[in-house]
């Protein structure tokens, strides 16, 4: 029997929907976007409409990012006067890819024709995650648990939560600081090929990495993603409708989402390394009918360096414990065994809440990436990571 036998239902989503438009604003830190968080997302949404060759009035479903603004507000500004489906998936940074999957579900079920998924924020000039994660108990599902059982002991922000996982992985599997650094260096190297990346023109060496200040051991400054202002959006429609639009459609071969257990509490997990992606990835690959080895590139949600290693393992690109070796020696750089985040990722491009990973996958599969193009890219994976390890994954093809 195959490792991932086909199950009834897998064919409901496979190759039923396509991404037909992407839009991105510029990203910045100082002095900030100068726009509201709704305004900046609308800018990206309009760019996605233009890319797809669609009018706002054709959008009949909107899946908004949690805690930013409501689908209804976007609909009102974009002229979506036939909105049929509005929802938000509360998975933090895993929401955009989980929304991509829900968009495919909505299209496959006939609940929507054109689905808009926007996300964007003033992550630099507005409220910082490091602040809201400890003060807004409603910002994540485990907010009250965090307030009552973590914050009093000084565990207050995402890099600290995830550092607990990284430290344990280093102990069990011998993962090294240099291997974490290899992730940071790969993202930075890719950013040198992307003029839109905020770290373009700012190369990073291993010596620079190791000399950067410790934030929360084992995470140094360069293990941590950027905090930026900016927004991104994409549009999903049916395969049939996609054929009538201007851009080369990108097919959703497989998509899934999953939760760690428990999802609202990070300390008491019997299997400390199991995350949402551990559940989601086998479903997505089974649906797509491919193996991880068939993938030409992967855009992995890189909030912090170890999360890339962890997701590569849990998605099945290597065995658990082998992620450190997988990322070494240029393994995840262009030309390596699996190019990861060719745009530079959250670490060196911008913090697009993970939606930029989808946009870059679309550009790769359209062959629009110029210097950083993965040669003959046919299949790409995108993952999302959020809250205490929520996960999502999409397998895309040209």
């Amino acid at each position: 029997m195959a490792a991932n036998p086909f199950r009834q239902g897998d064919n409901v989503l496979k190759d039923q929907a396509c991404i037909v438009g992407i839009g991105e604003t510029d990203y910045c830190r100082k002095p900030g976007s100068g726009l509201s968080e709704t305004g900046i997302q609308l800018k990206a949404a309009v760019a996605a409409l233009d890319d797809a060759g669609l009018q706002g009035s054709q959008i009949d479903a909107i899946l908004a990012f949690p805690n930013l603004n409501k689908s209804e507000a976007f609909a009102a500004s974009l002229g979506c006067d036939n909105l049929r489906f509005a929802a938000t998936i509360h998975m933090g940074g895993a929401s955009p890819v989980a929304s991509l999957r829900m968009a495919a579900m909505a299209v496959a079920a006939g609940a929507a024709d054109y689905v808009l998924v926007p996300a964007g924020w003033n992550g630099f000039s507005g409220a910082r995650v490091r602040e809201t994660s400890a003060t807004d108990v409603d910002s994540i599902p485990g907010g009250r648990i965090s307030r009552d059982y973590y914050t009093p002991f000084g565990l207050t922000a995402p890099p600290q939560w995830y550092a607990l996982m990284a430290r344990r992985h280093m102990h069990e599997y011998g993962t090294t600081h240099e291997q974490l650094g290899a992730v940071a260096l790969a993202m930075r190297k890719h950013a040198q090929l992307n003029p839109a990346a905020l770290m373009h023109g700012k190369p990073l060496s291993m010596a620079d990495y190791l000399a950067s200040p410790m934030i929360t051991d084992p995470y140094r400054l360069y293990d941590c993603c950027l905090e930026t202002d900016g927004a991104c959006a994409f549009i999903v429609t049916s395969v049939e409708r996609a054929r009538d639009l201007g851009k080369q459609p990108v097919y959703i071969m497989g998509a899934a989402a999953g939760q760690p257990y428990p999802a609202d509490e990070i300390v008491n997990r019997r299997d400390f390394h199991k995350i949402g992606l551990t559940i989601a990835a086998p479903e997505a690959f089974r649906m797509a009918g491919i193996e991880p080895g068939d993938v030409d590139f992967a855009n992995i949600y890189d909030c912090f360096t170890y999360e890339v290693i962890q997701q590569l393992e849990e998605a099945g690109f290597c065995q658990r414990g082998e992620g450190g070796a997988f990322v070494e020696d240029g393994g995840i750089e262009l030309g390596g065994r699996l190019p990861v985040n060719t745009h530079g990722g959250l670490l060196s491009h911008a913090h697009s809440l993970g939606l930029g990973h989808i946009a870059e996958a679309v550009r790769q599969l359209r062959g629009e990436c110029g210097e950083r193009q993965v040669k003959d890219a046919e299949i790409g994976v995108v993952t999302g990571w959020g809250d205490f390890g929520d996960g999502s994954i999409a397998i895309l093809r040209r």
Binding site: R130, E131, A134, R144, I145, R147, D148, Y149, Y150, T151, P152, F153, G154, L155, T156, A157, P159, Q160, A163, L164, M165, R167, R168, H171, P213, M214, I215, T216, D217, P218, Y219, P262, E265, V267, N268, F272
Partner: protein, 135 residues
């Protein structure tokens, strides 16, 4: 004690009960009356057998260091003067894990599986935190 400025838990519901035991010098976790499973953080139902019957059972207070991080740069204003600071996960003999701090180990001296035992610290008139010491 009143000059304590760090964040405190909300003393309500089951969380209030957990910390009230700490104030009495007792570390107690919920234990399922039907299947015997210990659990933390407090929840209404046993996730193992879905029983609503449970009691606050005494912990031995002994455990081992499971993982930690050393916060060198505080990301919360109330901890700016407290770094370096190590939030530590301790795995108790009962099998549950607790996020805490160690009172007698400098962050750079932490070792995986280090044996520890609970030591209570009254930080305000109402809140006592369960901290641990290496033994």
């Amino acid at each position: 004690m009143s000059d304590y400025t760090k964040p405190l838990p909300e003393m309500e519901g089951l969380t209030g009960e957990f910390y009230d035991f700490c104030k009495q010098g007792e570390l107690r976790f919920q234990q399922c009356a039907d299947c015997g499973e210990f659990r933390h953080v407090p929840r209404e139902v046993c996730a193992h057998c879905n029983s609503f019957d449970w009691q606050w059972a005494a912990s031995s207070g002994r455990g081992r260091v499971y993982t930690w991080t050393v916060v060198e740069r505080a990301l919360h204003p109330d901890f700016m003067d407290a770094t370096p600071l190590a939030p530590v996960v301790v795995e108790l003999e009962e099998g549950v894990r607790l996020l805490t701090n160690l009172v007698n180990v400098a962050p750079q001296d932490l070792v995986m599986d280090m044996p520890v035992e609970v030591e209570f610290r009254a930080v305000t008139d109402t809140v006592t935190l369960p901290l641990f010491r290496a033994v």
